[in-house]
Symmetry: D2
Amino acid sequence: MSDIAFIGLGHMGLPMARNLLKAGYRLRVHDLVRSAVDELAAEGATSATDAREAVAGTAVVITMLPASRHVEGLLLGEDGLLQAIAPGSLVLECSTIAPESARKVHAEARARGIDLLDAPVSGGTAGAAAGTLTFMVGGEAAALERARPIFEAMGKNIFHAGPDGAGQVAKVCNNQVLAVQMIATAESMALGVANGLDPAVLAEIMRQSSGGNWVLERYNPWPGVMPNAPASREYEGGFMAELMAKDLGLAQETAQNSLSSTPMGALALQLYRLLLKQGQGRKDFSVVQKLFVE
Amino acid sequence: MSDIAFIGLGHMGLPMARNLLKAGYRLRVHDLVRSAVDELAAEGATSATDAREAVAGTAVVITMLPASRHVEGLLLGEDGLLQAIAPGSLVLECSTIAPESARKVHAEARARGIDLLDAPVSGGTAGAAAGTLTFMVGGEAAALERARPIFEAMGKNIFHAGPDGAGQVAKVCNNQVLAVQMIATAESMALGVANGLDPAVLAEIMRQSSGGNWVLERYNPWPGVMPNAPASREYEGGFMAELMAKDLGLAQETAQNSLSSTPMGALALQLYRLLLKQGQGRKDFSVVQKLFVE
Amino acid sequence: MSDIAFIGLGHMGLPMARNLLKAGYRLRVHDLVRSAVDELAAEGATSATDAREAVAGTAVVITMLPASRHVEGLLLGEDGLLQAIAPGSLVLECSTIAPESARKVHAEARARGIDLLDAPVSGGTAGAAAGTLTFMVGGEAAALERARPIFEAMGKNIFHAGPDGAGQVAKVCNNQVLAVQMIATAESMALGVANGLDPAVLAEIMRQSSGGNWVLERYNPWPGVMPNAPASREYEGGFMAELMAKDLGLAQETAQNSLSSTPMGALALQLYRLLLKQGQGRKDFSVVQKLFVE
Amino acid sequence: MSDIAFIGLGHMGLPMARNLLKAGYRLRVHDLVRSAVDELAAEGATSATDAREAVAGTAVVITMLPASRHVEGLLLGEDGLLQAIAPGSLVLECSTIAPESARKVHAEARARGIDLLDAPVSGGTAGAAAGTLTFMVGGEAAALERARPIFEAMGKNIFHAGPDGAGQVAKVCNNQVLAVQMIATAESMALGVANGLDPAVLAEIMRQSSGGNWVLERYNPWPGVMPNAPASREYEGGFMAELMAKDLGLAQETAQNSLSSTPMGALALQLYRLLLKQGQGRKDFSVVQKLFVE
């Protein structure tokens, strides 16, 4: 197996890279935060002082960065990293960014003869640590087949969403539904409890009925209903409200491109921004429950 | 087994009554629509010319009516049917009505020594015909145990939601979540398709991911994604948009009582009312998809 | 001039009654709160120990009560006050209640030969004290002409909105627009300031442009923009958020009757309920500004 | 008076340029649409075959283009028009664009020693023709004083909103309030009429009360209430719904930059997009009334 350059070792990137090491891949890693690089170096990775050094001589590059501007800034342009990556290489761009940004990156990679995939993930830091992430992949089917073993070392479900940028589109659609059903569940839990129902009973009835959804199945926002959900540990851990606000913002940016009407997703974004104003942005996104209880 | 009086033989009541006949119960049936009564009489039920005649001498009464005013009008007051039902009888009030109306009916029944349960159903006409309805039951646990065999002849999941009116509260909470996740799914399907995704691929990715919900599992609103869903037969059959608007109205009425904030449910109601204005009220509620495509 | 019975001496009723006294009317007053009655008695009114005593022998009755249930409870039924009011009398029902409640009261008054008007007010406690209220009146035009001098002793604008209940419908429509434009103004002020504008400059530009509205003209929600607005005294005084939530609830109840879609009004209600949950219900309704700033 | 180069002769630019001609200014004009150029040439302007030719030798440049990408495309970069404009010149950039785009243009102009103002307008094509536009101006106060006579030849209200980009911010705030109060007025008119009120009576009551706003004053969306409003000529003319959707999109883009919550503005955008899907985008924006009536 060839070396993999892994750039971006944040809350998600670090555990993803660690799973690649465990699977036997040799890694060359880089991040602006030195401690993350050192941590992985102690586990067997080769540390690189900058991104160019990381990709030198590797045939596979993985990037996991915060937002569109970081990805465009790193990869594109005359000084961009794509210029330093050998034609024929495989680049797995795993950041969650605007579909339009992803398409720009695809276009420049293709012009250089590089196989690039946009491959945002879902599953959160827990999924990253457990190696059970979902990858939603946009780009050529052949490139996905080439990348599959690498994805499988980090995740469980690997979906081919469609052509360039389709991974990002699938992710914003999925997370828009997730945010809306989180809020709908939270407001309905509060409505039921305010009208005399036991939260655990109501949660179980809806879970087994036509109101059933992933939130009710795994992630109930009412404290105490699910002992392992963030709601039961004061909304610590999990997927931060400010990251959900970021993803809902990407959904609105995508909707702007197609002039699509998404009333529920738009309202969800506004409600998450109210939470951010209230200083709850770094809590798990199920903290939206607090809007609806005194 | 004793006779059961069954009042209200509409789209839901008729197939429910039929399942009781099949299970061996003797029925005395009444409806203002004569043809429904005759239909069941031909299958072995005893027809009654009015509701009082239906309940005379029976120990169990089932009512399945359109709305709060019909239930209050039939059961309550000096001339109400509760006065004609013997103390010690069991009344299963299966209509979907306001929790407050249900509590009035409970109070008067209790004063008469009658065991009454509010027991709205979910599952639609298909579930009624197949005998797979869900019953969400409010009232005494002992009364529910007494009623259980009868519910099981008509349904599959029997939930004890809590005290008087709790069945109605659980139902409005569940249907509020259902309506919101239907709209969220529809707008997100439209967003994805407008940005290049294949509808079936997007539906499958979300179904298996954190956006997963009952709508994606059983009832996708995009035509052709699920051959058996109403969306694939021009939104005919299923659960009518105007009935979803009714249930969302009950949710808002319940929220008014507790001054609960339910932004997603409130918006869902407004969007369904737009559909009603456009003449789509008698289509399946997944017809909301049409708002989001040209 | 004949005696007027005035029932309901709360924050609005008390200053309204006082203006009638100042205009030379003789008043017979009643309220469940004894201190309000005593206060007016000290200013020349005759105190009555109950509502029946207040209306005995008067030809004009004014009621100003908190909500539909109080009005229906006082006026309707076999023991209701309408039975104690002489045929040919004039009743000015000034409470803000559901149009449907108003129509019930009209019907019973008409059956008794009483001229009744539904006449909710706008202008708040300041308008009540200054005698500058707006009356929105439903009922017979002839009855309104008969009542006009009395209204003019308490208010400035007297509108004939239409037949029975039309005063209430006009009021909920007006207050729905008011609530929405308050929130729109507040969120837009916050948006502008967050993007570098001076609040006073932005307020003035919008006031003079197509965004101009009553809120920008008289009642800017940003602290300090208008020295006399509640926003500049920590949102004390004015029109309480919980009363705006009540009026928005009446608008939704009215919309339920006609199956009207009112997405903006519905969202406004949900946002006011969030404020109530946050303990801001007794602040002026411009306190909604606080949702949008840190 | 020096020559003015005027670039962009669309629905707004053409009548604006014409008013400058009438005021005695000498114009050099350019547009991609030849007929507009010819029309003005016939009235005394000098036609230019491209933008560079238009600005050559002039000390004042006005641009009026459809969107951010056109403005950035025309003015910025090595081949951009700012490179062809003499230091010391005055540029009035009157397009409605993203504040962020405006700031980029300001920065490049400043680096070149050019006095640039962002100066979006409101007032529509009618205001452009009548010379009664409102200009909301961002940039240096000194530059605004230099430009004032030119603005006054085209408009009536000239506001200094603040520093670079502030004109654009003020405009998106204003138009957000406008869109929301249009929809709130439309849904409340429909609510009132559905509950028995005469539309003209209701409109007049709200206009004079706390629901009063610019829409009720000048632009009522109910057909027939105001003979001169677009609603009374089948929503033809006026300010197109698709342009309001564009401005609401800019408001959301601005809100994204500051993570501001604007629930009313966000909902207004989604409702306008529904209208666009229904083929109403080129009607006046008061056509939103149609969503709420059968």
